[in-house]
């Protein structure tokens, strides 16, 4: 046990509050966490006025409030979690958070490579420079307001990740790849956070706008910065309601880049899935009606559609459990249904319904599927899957004894036990509570960052916005629109949507008025939503309307109709 976490502090401004966070490669373990707490450099400890160590296995948003002790406002903890993530490969374990008002000299002196080892046997060495995050952020909300103008870049929250600037010599390349993972994680967390906390306010939109306008292609660091800005603003408790599609899209395009594979996700080669003119009838019902669908390798395609649109039938066609009446199907280069078996061998399926063997242990569940998928080293595959599902400690427990979230993670890991090239996720989070859903999204995000091709059917718009590089909207057995979420939104819904809450009679009136002006209106529960309201002339959007950014939901309802089938 050894190695040293490293703290590096950038330009320091004594007038600002500074958060220093140390992440080490120690697994979440009470003893390990205690050990870390003890090894905060003594000089630094003198400067800080609060230290918090939180085991990383706690849920990222700390919805259950289990991250004790937490002496600080909840939003600060959330910010950290976003930053640090819970990378499964190398799990950050806890974090030490300090605040101080010391000058730069004092802090430089205090922060030395932390060579202290943890106590518990489970600890892993901390690679020099790895997983060390130093965040400097301004405290004064008024400073952040200036971000809206985009002219004060210096005062933007700043993230320094050591490994963006890796040490020279051996391993530099690997370190860079690792840091990409970390950044991808951070952005994913940011997205989860934004969605959970609510909609973006004006200030966030402005931040996103400012960053979007940068002339050059934003790098990873910039993406993370963007995520952080949003996080920060959220933490300032600005009025927020819903994720901004621009941010979500932005994050998706970032996370869609398979960092580990060193591949540009836009560099499309062979299609993993090619369907053309596929028809599937069940008696008088045509479930899939001339479906054309191409999923390039390395992307996550969200198949979005209402119930009964033909999503599940499409999934069954791909696994050979339904045979098409017409059309051509090709999966990973194999013609279906004739070569369905070799295609299935390279494909992982995560079903909508939990069909784990409940009396059987966690590891046996995985081992059975490793054998079914003909994995050569079953033991190694099981260990890998256990790590992925974070269930190493529970390997000998029966599935029955697991919590709902653990079961879902296991179900996902079971579908990945053979490291498939292509993964079909059939409504991966249907009927799950927000915590479990966020957890699964994180796992799926990791899968994406490894470059695995994903076809995910869902009727949760949020899920598609969050995870999908591209979305295909399906209804009545056909794809009726396809593109990146942001493209779909701007193409079909415009920029803004005005929502009006009013008594039903008034809504009818307003709707008629807006429609007579050529505006598109959709019902939105107790309200109506005027889609593309930026194009509306004076007087058609009443003053009481709440203006928000257009979302994929607007697109979805416009394209698939108002009425549920």
């Amino acid at each position: 046990m050894g190695g040293g976490g490293q703290l590096r502090v950038g330009q320091l401004d004594a007038r600002r509050q500074l958060d220093v966070e140390v992440v080490g490669g120690i697994e979440a373990h009470p003893q390990a966490v205690r050990a870390r707490a003890e090894h905060v450099p003594a000089a630094l400890a003198d400067l800080i006025d609060e230290v918090q160590v939180v085991p990383a296995h706690l849920d990222p948003l700390d919805v259950g409030g289990k991250a004790k002790p937490d002496h600080r406002p909840r939003h600060v903890a959330q910010l950290e979690d976003v930053l640090l993530g819970d990378d499964l490969g190398q799990r950050p374990v806890g974090r030490v958070l300090s605040r101080h008002r010391a000058g730069p000299d004092q802090l430089e002196a205090a922060v030395e490579p932390d060579r202290a080892g943890g106590g518990a046997g489970r600890n892993q060495p901390i690679e020099p420079g790895q997983q060390t995050v130093v965040v400097e952020r301004p405290l004064d909300p008024r400073v952040d307001r200036r971000l809206e103008t985009g002219d004060d870049r210096e005062r933007r929250p700043r993230l320094r990740r050591d490994r963006l600037d890796p040490p020279r010599g051996v391993g530099a390349e690997e370190l860079a790849v690792e840091s990409d993972h970390l950044a991808v994680e951070a952005v994913q967390r940011a997205q989860s956070e934004v969605a959970v906390l609510g909609q973006l306010g004006e200030a966030e939109v402005a931040v996103v706008g400012a960053l979007e306008q940068r002339p050059d292609r934003r790098g990873l660091e910039e993406d993370v910065r963007l995520a952080l800005c949003v996080q920060f603003l959220l933490a300032q408790r600005l009025h927020v309601q819903r994720p901004d599609p621009a941010l979500v899209q932005h994050g998706a395009s970032l996370t869609g880049r398979p960092a580990a594979a060193g591949r540009d996700w836009q560099d499309r080669g062979v299609a993993a899935i090619e369907l053309s003119g596929v028809v599937k009838r069940f008696g008088p019902i045509t479930a899939v009606d001339g479906l054309d669908l191409e999923v390039p390798e390395g992307i996550c395609l969200g198949l979005l559609g209402p119930n009964g649109a033909g999503k599940s039938t499409t999934m069954r066609l791909l696994t050979g459990q339904a045979l098409a009446d017409a059309g051509e199907l090709r999966v990973l280069g194999h013609e279906l249904p004739g070569e369905s078996k070799p295609a299935r061998a390279k494909m992982g399926v995560v079903p909508q319904l939990d069909n784990l063997d409940v009396d059987v242990t966690v590891e046996d569940n995985l081992a059975v599927y490793a054998r079914l998928y003909r994995v050569e080293d079953v033991g190694a595959a099981v260990d890998r899957a256990l790590d992925l599902a974070r269930l190493r400690d529970r390997r000998r427990d029966a599935v029955d004894e697991l919590s709902g979230g653990m079961r879902r993670r296991l179900l996902l890991a079971r579908g990945l036990v053979h490291e498939p090239h292509l993964v079909l996720l059939d409504e991966p989070t249907v009927g799950l509570d927000p915590q479990i859903r966020t957890e699964l999204w994180t796992l799926i995000g990791q899968l994406k960052s490894r470059g695995t091709t994903i076809l995910m059917s869902t009727h949760y718009i949020e899920e598609a916005e969050r995870l999908a590089d591209e979305v295909a909207v399906m209804t009545h057995g056909k794809i009726i629109a396809r593109g990146r979420p942001a493209e779909l939104i701007s193409e079909h819904a415009g920029r803004q949507t005005a929502e009006i809450y009013a008594p039903p009679d008034r809504l009818v009136e307003l709707r008629a008025d807006a429609e007579s002006a050529g505006l598109r209106v959709r019902p939105a529960g107790p309200a109506i939503a005027i889609v593309g309201s930026e194009a509306a002339g004076d007087g058609h959007v009443p003053e009481e309307a709440v203006i928000r950014a257009a979302t994929l939901e607007d697109v979805f309802v416009l394209l698939t109709g108002e009425e549920a089938e």
Binding site: T319, V349, N355, V360
Partner: protein, 255 residues
């Protein structure tokens, strides 16, 4: 790719083994206790008061050897029917298995093989229990697990086919009343079939359980030439049921 790949069949069977490890105690317990209870009830009760011996064999040994067939059908047809139905309809297990490189044919074959092996094994229990009631072990009995296995394969296939046919689990009541109970009673387990009306006797010849009973008694008291034919009949029964099960299940599982 071959049609029946050992890797696929082995994989499906390994799932059964993993599950079996969680419930083998109960199954084994009842497999031992049931023949004991039957032998005590029939052998001692009926044997002591009404029947001394049948065809020169003490009644308790007559019943004990016959009960191999009872054990085989109850540990093959019923688990196969209910197990298949539950895995298919309630647990969606087959959906996950078929998403792996496993075809319906391999899935059904594996399920039948597993039940066949299990029932062949548990089918020996009544025989072993009967040893304690004075039956002498003979070398011929070494074939009993094989007879049990082949018969159980057939009934496992029957169970799979029924599970793929019924719409609701309650409908197994019809299957049990129409097929399982009559087959089990007119097998010559508790009474010899030669006393029955001629029509029933002819029908009993088509009862695989009756053939099994005769084979087990052959093992215990001496084989006859006709036993080869009986065994061939059981093999045919298993093969036919195997194909029926595959075709019924394919209809169910593949749209």
């Amino acid at each position: 790719m071959r049609r029946l790949e050992p890797a696929a069949i082995g994989g499906v069977m390994s799932r059964e083994v993993a599950n079996f490890r969680t419930y083998w105690k109960g199954t084994t317990f009842s497999s031992v206790l049931e023949p004991v209870v039957y032998l005590l009830a029939f052998g001692l009760g009926l044997g002591a008061t009404l029947v001394d011996e049948v065809d020169g064999v003490s009644y308790i040994q007559f019943v004990g050897t016959g009960m191999v067939a009872t054990a085989v059908i109850f540990s093959s047809a019923l688990p196969s029917m209910f197990g298949t139905f539950v895995k298919h309809r309630f647990q969606n297990t087959y959906e996950a298995i078929l998403a792996a490189p496993v075809d319906v044919e391999e899935l059904v074959t594996a399920e039948m093989l597993w039940i066949g092996l299990r029932a062949g094994f548990y089918g020996c229990f009544p025989l072993i229990v009967t040893f304690f009631f004075g039956l002498d072990p003979t070398p011929g009995m070494l074939l009993v697990p094989l007879f049990g296995f082949v018969t159980a394969l057939g009934f496992a296939g029957f169970g799979v086919a029924m599970a793929a046919t019924v719409a609701k689990i309650d409908q197994f009541n019809y299957v049990t009343a129409l097929f399982v109970t009559p087959l089990f009673l007119i097998a010559g387990t508790f009474f010899p079939i030669d006393g029955l009306p001629e029509g029933v006797q002819v029908a009993a010849q088509f009862n695989p359980l009756h053939q099994l009973v005769e084979l087990v008694r052959g093992g215990a008291f001496g084989y006859e030439a006709i036993d080869l034919l009986r065994f061939a009949g059981l093999v045919v029964f298993a093969l036919v049921m195997w194909r029926i099960a595959i075709s019924r299940m394919s209809k169910r599982l593949i749209d």
